[in-house]
């Protein structure tokens, strides 16, 4: 069946998302990598829903609602920070760091 391949693809996509968060400095790209991780989890939900019942597909619906809310608020925060710092690089967002 397709469960094994789906979980393998999901694992690779999640790892790529984590890798993107770790290796980039641009906040917007990091944010897109978070969306990539959410999508990898969605693939797991849908693949398991085929074997375990429709609850998985309902959960994907909730993940999408949370992702949409997160994107709206997160991008508004990025816009506010950009107006303040004129930059979206994580290197310039060190207000809480000592010195």
């Amino acid at each position: 069946m397709l469960l094994g391949p789906a979980l393998a693809i999901s694992a690779v996509l999640f790892t790529l998302g984590v890798l993107g968060v770790l290796m980039r400095r641009n906040v917007i790209v990091i944010f897109m990598c978070v969306e990539l991780m959410l999508n990898a989890v969605n693939l797991t939900f849908v693949a398991l829903a085929q074997n375990l019942g429709m609850g998985g597909q309902v959960f994907v619906f909730f993940v999408m609602a949370v992702a949409a809310a997160e994107a709206a608020v997160g991008l508004a925060i990025i816009l506010a920070v950009y107006r303040h710092k004129q930059s979206v690089s994580l290197q310039n967002m060190n207000l809480l760091k000592d010195g």
Partner: protein, 171 residues
């Protein structure tokens, strides 16, 4: 046949995700992410989740990615400049951690579900025949998951208010 098509779209999804995290230009990254999301929608269709696939295209590839591209273009980040990818040390640490995570997730591919909770093959398709593709998602959503659904609507209201407040010129 289904297996082959599944792997074709899976490879498209993984390849474009790799390109998404390695492109220097954020607009290119965003567009490769759109390709990943479309390939994932195709995978959802192959996994008997047609309604979720439509939602994926409408909500993710449509609304959310347009929001990302809008912000990237509003901030004028598409122009060429220094790469935002970390140096050799940061990159090395990231690759080592990524490889460790992949190694830990690798046993997932050999998952066997306990037969006591597994539905017989084809039962999702039978349910979709009986209730309709949208109905088979809507019935649990407005039945067993009604309270989480209402909470999600409150969450979206909070997100709307939060986005408007944050986007005000004077914070």
């Amino acid at each position: 046949m289904t297996y082959t098509v599944f792997w074709i779209f899976g490879v498209i999804a993984m390849g474009s995700a790799l390109l998404c995290i390695t492109r220097k230009n954020p607009i290119a990254s965003a567009l490769w992410l759109v390709v990943t999301l479309f390939a994932l929608a195709a995978l959802f269709v192959l996994l008997d989740a047609q309604f979720i696939a439509v939602l994926q295209v409408l909500v993710y590839a449509g609304a959310i990615m347009v929001l990302f591209l809008f912000v990237i273009m509003l901030l004028n980040l598409g122009r060429p400049g220094p790469s935002d990818i970390k140096g050799p040390l940061g990159l090395g640490v990231a690759v080592v951690l990524g490889a460790a995570l992949l190694f830990l997730l690798q046993p997932l591919t050999q998952t066997t579900l306990p037969s006591a909770i597994t539905l017989p093959p084809g039962s999702v398709q039978a349910l979709q025949q009986q209730q309709g593709i949208v109905g088979s998602v809507a019935n649990p959503l407005f039945g067993a998951y009604l309270i989480p659904f209402e909470i999600a609507s409150v969450l979206l209201l909070a997100a709307i208010v939060g986005a408007v407040v944050l986007a005000k010129r004077k914070l």
